[in-house]
Every structure is written in C-alpha cells, then in structure tokens.
Symmetry: C2
Subunit: 179 residues, 2 copies
C-alpha cells in the first residue's frame, strides 16, 4: 500500500537566502505519527550547451558544502517571478558568456526527494554564440569546453560527480546519437 502522509503539525526552523528548513509531523496510514525533515528550495535550472562539434560547455567552481572544485553544467536558482526558461537564458550568459539561438526544455527532476523539494528543469542550448567577454558577476567560475566522449570517460573515472551533470552527459550522448 502506498499512501499519502497527512500533515499534523509543521514547524519552521529556519528561513534563509536559498533554503528553508521545516519539520513536519505526519500521520501514517496506520495512524502512527512520524517526523519529516524538509529542506525547501525555490528550484533551479540546468543548461546543456552543446556546440556544433559535439562538445558541452561546462563550468568549474568551488562548492563549499563538499569542500571541492566541481565540474558542472551551467545552472542557477530560479528567481521570484521568473520562468525556468528565462532563468536558463540568463544563467547561460552570466556563467559562460554564451547566448543560445535555441533553448529547449527537455526534462525535470528532483535532486533528492527524501529530504528536499528542490527540482531542476533541464534545458538543451544549441546554436551557441559567444557574446560576453567577461562572463558573470562571479569571477570564481572557470568555463570549459569538453567533447562528449571525453565526458562519458570522466563519469567513469569519477571526475564528474554532480548528479545533474551526469544526467546531462548521458542525455547529450543519446541526443547526439539520434541526430
């Protein structure tokens, strides 16, 4: 049996810049109570910028939560009153300096639905044009262009370890084969 969990009580622990934390007390179908720790997130977009010659434009940046530099697809939080597609267009230019002639929605997913409602909307960016000499307000991002076959290797070697980026590389592989 799969059942919903009715909220009996909801306690807000923290409201932040990017995430909020709340604890819900839920009633299970057997009438027992349980607690759910829930991290609220406004949602984000990820962009797969594919070049004519079959490479992906990626960014490398330091990620404090994991204390590591990671290679990821360009991505960003959805701002208030922003449509995911607008976020995708904005973030791609800000982070990489590239403008997409075509920006297509492909799929969406939850990053870790056991404790957070964060959803990522993935977009495919093609017909890329370099428009910005100094991308981003954030100078701590490095832009990289890497061929898709090399990226598949980098997943196998543990050099790409970000979930949205792994999904994007597998998707791009499938997309390029179908072309």
């Amino acid at each position: 049996m799969t059942c919903e969990e009715k909220t009996m009580k909801s306690e807000r622990i923290y409201e932040g810049k990017i995430v909020n934390l709340r604890i819900d007390t839920v009633e299970l179908p057997d009438k027992k109570y349980s607690k759910r720790e829930i991290v609220e997130h406004p949602g984000a977009v990820g962009i797969i910028p594919i070049t004519e010659d079959g490479s992906i434009i990626l960014v490398e940046q330091y990620r404090k939560p994991v204390e590591k530099k990671l290679i990821e697809i360009p991505a960003g939080k959805i701002e208030i009153n922003e449509e995911p597609k607008e976020t995708a267009i904005r973030e791609l230019i800000e982070e990489t300096g590239y403008k997409a002639g075509k920006m297509e929605y492909i799929l969406e997913f939850y990053t870790s639905p056991g404790f957070t409602n964060e959803k990522i909307y993935l977009f495919l960016a093609t017909e890329l044009e370099y428009v910005e000499e100094n991308p981003g307000e954030d100078e701590y991002i490095q832009v990289k262009k890497i061929p898709i076959e090399k990226l598949v290797d980098m997943i196998d070697k543990g050099e790409i370890i970000d979930s949205k980026t792994i999904i994007s590389i597998y998707f791009a592989m499938k997309y390029l084969k179908a072309k």
Copy 2:
C-alpha cells in the same frame, strides 16, 4: 580563477535525524565575506537491481518533501559504522525482498552540491534471488519490475523524476548494450 572558501565562522542551526543545517561565513579570494547555507547529510546508497531479462526492480513510495508518490531505485541512508556496500545489500533486501549474488560498486555523485554534501554511492545488483516474502519494515513501499526500454520512455514522459533513478536507468542502458 577558482579558489577555495575559507571558513571564518560556522553556526549550527539544527541537528536532526537525517539532516543537520549549518551556516558558514566564508572568506572569498577578494577578502569579501559571504554566507553559505549547508545541509549536512550522512550519505546514501542507491542500488540498480537488474534481472536476467533486462528489467530493473524499483520501488514506489510517497515522498513528503515533494508531496508525491515517486518511482525510484531502492536506496537508503548509510548508518554509522556501515560500509556503503553493506548498506546496499541490506537496503535491497529490506525494500524489495531480493538478494544480490553480485553487488558491484559503479560510481558516486553529489545530489545537489550547491547546498548539501549528500553523496550517493551507486551499486549494480545482479544474480538476483527473491528471498523475502514480506520485504521491509516499511509496508508503504510498492515493488515494481519494469523493462529497461520502458523506463527510458518513462523518463521522456516525465514519469520518472528522481535524479538517482534517471542516472541509474541511463547507466543500465549503457551496461546492457555493452554486454
């Protein structure tokens, strides 16, 4: 330039059953300060149980943070003093009733490194044997066996929307093609 972020102050907001929340004040390379909201997570495993006939064993359960029933690969939090592989063996039996003759580590990734250190270790489970009539302590999980080609369709249709499950299906597709 990609640089590390030095922790100047660290404030613990919440310590929970599954996650903790802390706010770090970091010093950027230009000496400016910034805040980082960080959700600490003990890490988890995900298991890709592939049957002889090319299906994956999945579980469907209600996920409070997203208020939806989701279809996911079997998965679970790593307990204290547990090796990821032990977690994988334990969780597979608990959630699905299947025991794996072979449980191989394949890769690991961060679910959302912008705000959490949660890492998932993925394992491939083969030589499956059904050993448990009443899987799990958790009666609210439904076990499903779905052919891999159908799962690829389900991603495209938005019926599979969990990141670790999408990665697993793409990986399984690649694995079965290479066999």
